[in-house]
């Protein structure tokens, strides 16, 4: 396993009662798991290398030491087995939180996720709910080799029954993971690998409502719609555009399914222009879905077609191609420039 150098999050070996701290997203996720394990004896954490090692990204660091092997444990190396047994545990009243080491590694478990995790509540007419959380380190930007940097959100968001969320700040990482664990429905939590070591303030008393988008920056000329690692990119592009005289609003979509049409629609109507930004290949993507929804709801308010800035329709790029593949500030600014501005020549 090759991953980029990173700092280890504050270990969850001891109970931490403070509510507001500056920490990395990795530490926020670790704290959320520790707080959930402490709060509810039905919560269990398991996956590959999550025990003694604390996870390849150290998100589960210290949990086995603090809560014991019954509560945080390593499984045989088998993703379908991890999700399939989590389904059985959830059927029997537990709240499993499982880690899929890297996004593409979740694919052997795809049948369990789509055919069972997503459907059991429906099949049993609510007689059995699936209160399980599937944590997936998600996306690129860390120089990972093949199968370590995919963006598979469209597969999950396309599946009725699954809730799909992705945080872009340590605060949201904490609050969304706590909300996901508390949810009676199965949640796929996409953790942007690139942001694991980004820092921010986390108030553990702040709760998140799954299904709500967040206005990350106010602006009046154009709305950038992004999620996960694309949110900091959007904010950076907004800052540069501001220097060029454009007032750019940034919406962190945050919840891919269910989707917050209300916030997004109001935002785009207020500016009349929109660009959707995501790392995943653009064809048949979540970015396409957002674009379509915005067109349907905001057509009469739009000054220009809604644009997408996405990854290319290629397999995720090898590390040395990554800078060509990933959306960057220039690509976002170029997209903004095409939005039929009155000052266009």
């Amino acid at each position: 396993m090759t991953i980029a150098e990173h700092e280890t999050p504050a270990s969850a070996t001891a109970e931490d009662t403070t509510t507001v701290t500056t920490m990395t997203m990795a530490a926020a996720l670790n704290r959320a798991l520790a707080d959930a394990l402490a709060a509810d004896p039905d919560v269990v954490v398991f996956g590959e290398d999550v025990g003694a090692l604390g996870g390849v990204f150290r998100i589960t660091d210290g949990l086995t030491a603090r809560f014991g092997e019954d509560r945080c444990f390593d499984t045989p190396l088998a993703e379908s087995g991890i999700i399939g047994t989590a389904v059985g545990m959830a059927m029997n009243g537990m709240r499993p939180v499982v880690e899929m080491q890297f996004d593409a590694f979740a694919l052997p478990a795809f049948e369990q996720i789509v055919s069972h995790v997503a459907k059991l509540g429906n099949r049993t007419r609510g007689g059995m709910r699936m209160p399980l959380v599937i944590r997936i380190p998600f996306g690129g930007g860390i120089g990972g080799v093949e199968h370590h940097c995919d963006s598979s959100e469209a597969y999950y968001a396309h599946t009725p029954g699954l809730t799909v969320v992705s945080p872009s700040t340590p605060q949201d990482a904490y609050s969304l993971l706590r909300a996901a664990i508390a949810s009676p429905d199965p949640v796929v939590l996409l953790e942007p690998k690139k942001l694991y070591w980004s820092k921010g303030e986390v108030d553990t008393a702040v709760t998140a409502e799954i299904g709500s988008a967040r206005i990350a920056r106010d602006g009046t000329d154009v709305t950038l719609l992004a999620y996960g690692a694309s949110v900091p990119l959007a904010l950076e592009a907004a800052e540069v555009a501001a220097g060029e005289g454009r007032s750019v609003q940034v919406v962190d979509v945050r919840s891919l399914s269910p989707f917050d049409d209300e916030t997004v629609t109001a935002a785009v109507r207020s500016t009349g222009r929109a660009v959707v930004i995501a790392e995943a290949p653009g064809f048949a993507s979540v970015a396409s879905e957002i674009q379509a929804r915005v067109f349907e709801r905001c057509f009469e308010y739009l000054e220009a077609p809604v644009r997408r800035v996405t990854g290319f329709d290629t397999p995720y790029a090898p590390p040395k191609f990554e800078h060509w593949y990933l959306p960057d500030v220039d690509r976002v600014l170029d997209a903004i420039d095409t939005l039929h501005w009155e000052d266009d020549a």
Partner: protein, 369 residues
């Protein structure tokens, strides 16, 4: 446990021969007469359920029915060996086991009728929803047992699958997880020789499916799946071991699917009639009847009583399946998630409007559009 002790026998365990005579076994005792009589009643009912379901398919009342005709001994034994706190994880072919566990026949048929994806209260009967994808439910059974063990609950889980399922990755992962975590699960493979049209020889090159157990570190045993006494004895031993903390095990029953995979399948394309005919002599029902009659346990009065009981079940099935369920279109949206998303609510409003608008037309024309 020494690897040798995990290996199944070279031949399947048998306690009652085809002619009804008993076969002595040094390990497995013949179940008591009252247990065998109860099993016989189950076989009579199971056969009647299979026959009735087949008729209902031909009448168009069931969309599809995967028959377990010939496999009733496995079905009945699977339900009989479980206690009140135990759970059964069945497949689509295990309707008779589901009914034998106490689910009303009409509720067990909901999936196959097309009214919903599962028709019974899973918790009331401790029967998981019937699984259609192969081997996926074995992992659910393992996780379920793992949770029970974690909480110190007295629960043994019996997970059913067929020979085809043993080729799936999830079969391997379930066996491996169960053994590594030492959970109270019994895997019960009904080897009926065919996965739709593909014979066992194309599923495995192993000496038997039960031999797979040793590779995972659990005992395996083979049993004559048409000998309900033997199936009861072998499964009971496995369930008792699991309950006592002895971990998982694998039981392979050698049986035969007497009919096609489902009504949609033509089994004359992949097997000879002579082969099917030969299995008639091993019929589980006739075998036990011969034994119980010879030993004086079964008399004409009991035979008539069981037949009448089976007929009642069949009549209830007919009545239930000839009645169109009152379908509520909102059910499409009601159970997808605990909290309905705004998107699904919007779609329900769309459907509701469509239904509302279609009503006047129905009134004037006297029928649906």
């Amino acid at each position: 446990m020494h690897p040798h002790d995990m290996l199944p026998r070279d031949t399947a365990v048998r306690l009652i021969a085809e002619d009804g005579t008993t076969l002595a076994d040094e390990t497995y005792a013949l179940p008591a007469a009252d247990v065998l009589l109860a099993a016989y009643r189950g076989l009579v009912e199971g056969r009647r359920i299979n026959d009735q379901a087949g008729a209902l398919v031909r009448q168009g009342r069931l969309a599809v029915y995967p028959s377990s005709h010939g496999q009733e001994a496995c079905q009945v034994a699977a339900a009989m060996v479980l206690g009140d706190t135990d759970w059964l994880f069945p497949t689509y072919r295990d309707s008779v086991a589901v009914i034998a566990r106490g689910v009303a026949p009409a509720e067990a048929m909901v999936l196959l009728k097309g009214d919903w994806h599962s028709g019974y209260d899973v918790r009331a009967h401790r029967v998981a929803p019937q699984a259609t994808p192969l081997a996926t439910q074995l992992l659910h059974a393992v996780g379920f047992a793992q949770a029970a063990k974690h909480r110190g609950e007295d629960t043994v889980v019996l997970a059913l699958c067929g020979d085809g399922a043993t080729s799936e990755g999830d079969f391997h992962e379930a066996m491996n997880f169960a053994a590594v975590f030492h959970v109270p699960v019994v895997f019960f493979v009904q080897n009926n020789e065919f996965a739709i049209s593909v014979p066992l020889s194309r599923q495995t090159a192993a000496p038997s499916l039960a031999h797979k157990a040793v590779g995972y570190g659990m005992p395996g045993q083979r049993v004559d799946g048409n000998d309900v006494a033997a199936v009861l004895a072998v499964l009971t031993e496995a369930v008792d071991r699991a309950r006592a903390g002895g971990g998982p095990s694998l039981v392979e029953a050698h049986t035969y699917r007497m009919q096609a995979h489902t009504n949609a399948d033509d089994d004359t394309r992949y097997r000879e009639r002579e082969e099917v005919q030969a299995w008639l002599a091993r019929d589980p029902l006739l075998r036990l009847r011969a034994h119980l009659t010879a030993t004086g346990v079964l008399d004409e009065e009991a035979e008539e009583r069981f037949a009448a009981g089976a007929e009642e079940i069949a009549a209830a099935m007919r009545t239930a399946l000839n009645t169109d369920a009152d379908l509520d279109p909102e059910d499409l949206f009601r159970f997808v998630t605990a909290t309905r998303s705004p998107q699904r609510e919007e779609q329900w409003q769309l459907l509701r409007d469509e239904i509302e608008r279609s009503r006047p037309a129905e009134t004037t024309t006297g029928g649906p559009r």
